[in-house]
Amino acid sequence: MTDLILIAISAAIVNNVVLTYFLGVCPFLGVSRRLDMAFGMGTAVTFVVTIAGTLTFITHCYVLLPLDLAFLQYIVFIFVIAGTVQLVEMVVRKFQPALYEAFGVFLPMITTNCAILGTCLFVWLKGYDTLLKAVVFSFFNGVGFTLAIVIMAGLREDLTFADVPKPLRGAPITLFVAAILAMAFMGFAGIGTAQ
């Protein structure tokens, strides 16, 4: 139980997927202009990454490794992720129209979101050996992504009222804010790393 909690804290905060591994930086800089959109994107990513992390873990452990096909890992992973996204989109549209309204528009963009493939690879790189650990890690990576993108959107909404020097407008000032945010998250370093 303790190690599950440590995995959760480490994934969501200490080793935040956006601010320390730079995964999913494109939506982080692009979408995070409005709070509600950022939250929708975060929810969609969390949803898909949990399912994709679970499925790729199962595929890797029970199909690729026994058949000695580990070199096909990347191709199979990206195929599983693309399939998951399609499936989630269809299921949500059919059974949960309200949910689809909330984050359906973000689903097609997610296949090429590095945070998803990155998480699936990290599950394997960090050597999580049970399915439960893989699921917890994937879910809390999604939570960490949501956290970062929502904080960023809040900061950027305030930033629209600031008088930014002309060359710094747009991407540069956003990157500076991200740098300060990353420094703040470095304050958590050391918590939950003793696994």
């Binding site: 601010l19 320390t20 591994y21 730079f22 995964l23 999913g24 930086v25 494109c26 800089l29 070199f71 096909l72 890992q73 990347y74 191709i75 990206i78 195929f79 693309a82 296949t111 090429t112 979101n113 590095c114 998803i116 493939l117 990155g118 690879l121 990290f122 790189l125 002309k166 060359p167 710094l168 407008r169 747009g170 991407a171 540069p172 000032i173 956003t174 990157l175 500076f176 991200a178 740098a179 300060i180 990353a182 420094m183 470095m186």
Partner: protein
């Protein structure tokens, strides 16, 4: 892509990718490796070359397949093509440059989801013949290498006082640790884009 009226020649495409449409500073594409591996110049160079290799190969394949592409399956075709070439690049690095492969870690497989490659496949290779597609890939790839190297140069120089692992600043230089850590990546990229914007603004006046 510019408007269809002025279709650029192959050499114009090549030149355009390097500076006027630089993927890092102008289009802000493929930010994930740009930020992650640029704390050393050697890592930045390897990542840039690997990405260029994949970009050129996938543009060639997509350009050859462009008549057979089904609209609703095209993204899947792009992704699987890219994933195959990334696997080749990854196995090559693991065999011949094992240290570099270890250093870059998951960022080599993450080339698969680099938006730069998919956007070039969609915007250029799926509509053009072989020659313009290759020229476009080489141009955009060089622009990407240039972006990675400039970021790597600043970060390694200030963060470790060295270039390609060779000490260039005097021993008294206090190493700016923050530059090799994640915040340094955001900060340096922000600075460089600001310089490019400032330069543009000055030229317009």
């Amino acid at each position: 892509m510019s408007d269809a009226a002025s279709t650029p020649t192959a050499s114009q495409r090549l030149a355009r990718g390097v500076l006027p449409e630089n993927p890092v500073f102008r289009q802000l594409l493929g930010m994930c490796p740009v930020l992650a591996v640029t704390n050393s110049l050697a890592g930045a160079l390897t990542m840039g070359l690997a990405t260029t290799f994949v970009l050129v190969c996938s543009n060639v394949v997509v350009s050859l397949l462009r008549k057979q592409l089904q609209p609703h399956l095209r993204i899947l075709v792009y992704t699987l093509t890219i994933a195959s070439f990334v696997t080749i690049a990854d196995r090559f690095l693991a065999a011949f440059l094992p240290d570099m492969s270890l250093l870059l870690g998951p960022y080599i497989p993450l080339i698969i989801v680099n938006c730069l490659i998919i956007s070039r496949a969609e915007a250029c290779a799926s509509k053009q013949t072989l020659a313009p597609a290759i020229a476009d890939a080489v141009g955009q790839g060089s622009g990407f290498v240039l972006g990675l190297l400039s970021l790597g140069f600043v970060r390694e120089l200030l963060g470790s006082g060295s270039l390609f692992g060779v000490r260039v600043l005097p021993e008294a230089w206090p190493e700016w640790l923050i530059m090799v850590l994640p915040p340094g990546a955001f900060l340096t990229l922000g600075m460089l884009i600001a310089v490019v914007n400032w330069w543009d603004g000055r030229r317009e006046q």
